[in-house]
């Protein structure tokens, strides 16, 4: 585990996340469902999407149609950078609650 030491050091000096800057796109997880479950973003642009988990359980924001894979801990939020994507519909899901946590990114 040679990487462990530099990583730990880096963790110690790094600053906490959740910067105050607003994000134009937000998904909220509640009762293991995405709200909204259809999110519109502009085509051919890289956008920041915030995912806020209001459930008491962890979730993983993930898609098989555009690159994103990130765990969202209970009652916390993450940001991911998505795109640029061509116009179309791209499904995403919550890996830990797939029966309910389904959503679509509409790029237009």
């Amino acid at each position: 585990m040679r990487f462990a030491l530099p990583l730990l050091l880096a963790l110690l000096v790094s600053t906490p996340a959740l910067s105050a800057e607003a994000s134009a796109y937000t998904l909220v997880l509640k009762n293991h469902r995405y709200q909204p479950n259809v999110l519109h973003i502009p085509a051919n642009t890289r956008v920041k999407i915030d995912v806020i988990n209001q459930d008491p359980t962890p979730e993983e924001f993930e898609s098989d149609h555009f690159p994103v894979e990130k765990i969202v801990l209970p009652n916390s939020r993450i940001s991911v950078n998505v795109g640029p994507l061509k116009p179309g519909r791209y499904g995403f899901y919550g890996d830990f609650h797939q029966p309910t946590a389904q959503g679509t990114l509409v790029v237009d």
Binding site: M1, R2, F3, L7, A10, L11, S14, T15, P16, A17, L18, S19, R46, P56, T57, P58, E59, E60, D64, H65, F66, P67, V68, E69, K70, I71, L73, P74, S76, I78, S79, V80, N81, G83, P84, L85, K86, D95, F96, H97, Q98, P99
Partner: protein, 283 residues
């Protein structure tokens, strides 16, 4: 229960495929089973520790700690595999020769075995930490038959891993290490590509073309086969340019490195083995 089994199965499968290739590549090495078992055990402990510190990780590096951590784990595995492959290209022939000699367990493999122990541990740690977080959530949500689902998932994922291992063992000894070395090279290249994907997600690397092509219609990232191909050869239905760069750089470094190592160490009579290995590596 089936939701639990399915998720656990997919995570276990990813780790099991890596462990199988590593186990095959170290076939016949003295105390190999102990090393592989030790790697799995270390990985499980690591997975619990990573899951426990998920909050710290999430907030590290201005919110991209998860991506940085995953990329570091993947790149560390790439380095270890690469080292082993280069080491094997200078010693592999001796190894298979010794294996044919009865009784004398192959000690020569031990020096790079500890590297592969780390690879096994890292693979189990990465997939395992997701399972731990998932189970924590499921347990909190009061899911039924949690442990049965976990057991089914682990059993099925491991079974496919064993299947791959058993299949690999059927390869004739003459070609065996050429094939397993080639698989390790592809495995490393794929892990490097996945590391690039995390770094792009965190905006730490440019994408160099966010989507070079889309072959989802042929083989989707979410399908079982797509996932298997993702681990074994680094398949991605929508790769970014930077991922391809990482993939190609890993292939090139290991292929050229292996050639150089053979050039330095192998006597001329062994040169005949070179073409077979090269072909596999390109494949």
């Amino acid at each position: 229960m089936w939701a639990v089994a399915l998720l656990v199965f997919r995570e276990v499968l990813e780790a099991a495929l890596i462990v199988s290739v590593v186990a095959a590549a170290t076939r016949g090495v003295f105390r190999r089973s102990g090393f592989v078992g030790g790697g799995i055990a270390l990985g499980v402990i690591g997975a619990v520790l990573v899951a426990l510190s998920a909050g710290v990780l999430a907030n590290a590096f201005s919110g991209v700690g998860q991506e940085v951590f995953n990329a570091c784990v993947l790149l560390a595995a790439v380095l270890m595999i690469g080292w082993h492959v280069l080491w094997m290209s200078s010693h592999g022939r001796e190894m298979s020769a010794q294996m044919r000699a009865v009784g004398d367990a192959v000690q020569t493999g031990a020096s790079s075995l500890s590297l592969l122990l780390v690879v096994v541990a890292l693979a189990v740690l990465r997939e395992g930490s997701e399972i731990v977080l998932f189970l924590y959530g499921m347990n909190a949500g009061g899911a039924d038959h949690l442990w049965l689902g976990l057991a089914i998932g682990i059993a099925c994922g491991s079974a496919l891993g064993f299947g791959l291992y058993a299949g690999l063992l059927r390869i004739p000894m003459r070609h065996f290490f050429a094939v397993t070395n080639g698989m390790l090279v592809l495995l490393a290249a794929g892990l490097a590509s996945t590391a690039a994907r995390y770094l792009i997600q965190a905006d730490l690397l440019p994408a160099w073309g966010s989507r070079l092509w889309d072959s989802s219609w042929l083989l989707g990232n979410g399908s079982l086969l797509g996932q298997t191909a993702h681990i074994l050869v680094g398949y991605d239905a929508q790769p970014a340019g930077m991922q391809m760069a990482f993939y190609a750089a890993t292939l090139a470094a290991l292929w050229l490195g292996a050639r150089m190592m053979r050039g330095h160490h192998a006597p001329r009579t062994r040169a005949a083995a070179a073409p077979a290995t090269c072909t596999t590596v390109r494949g």
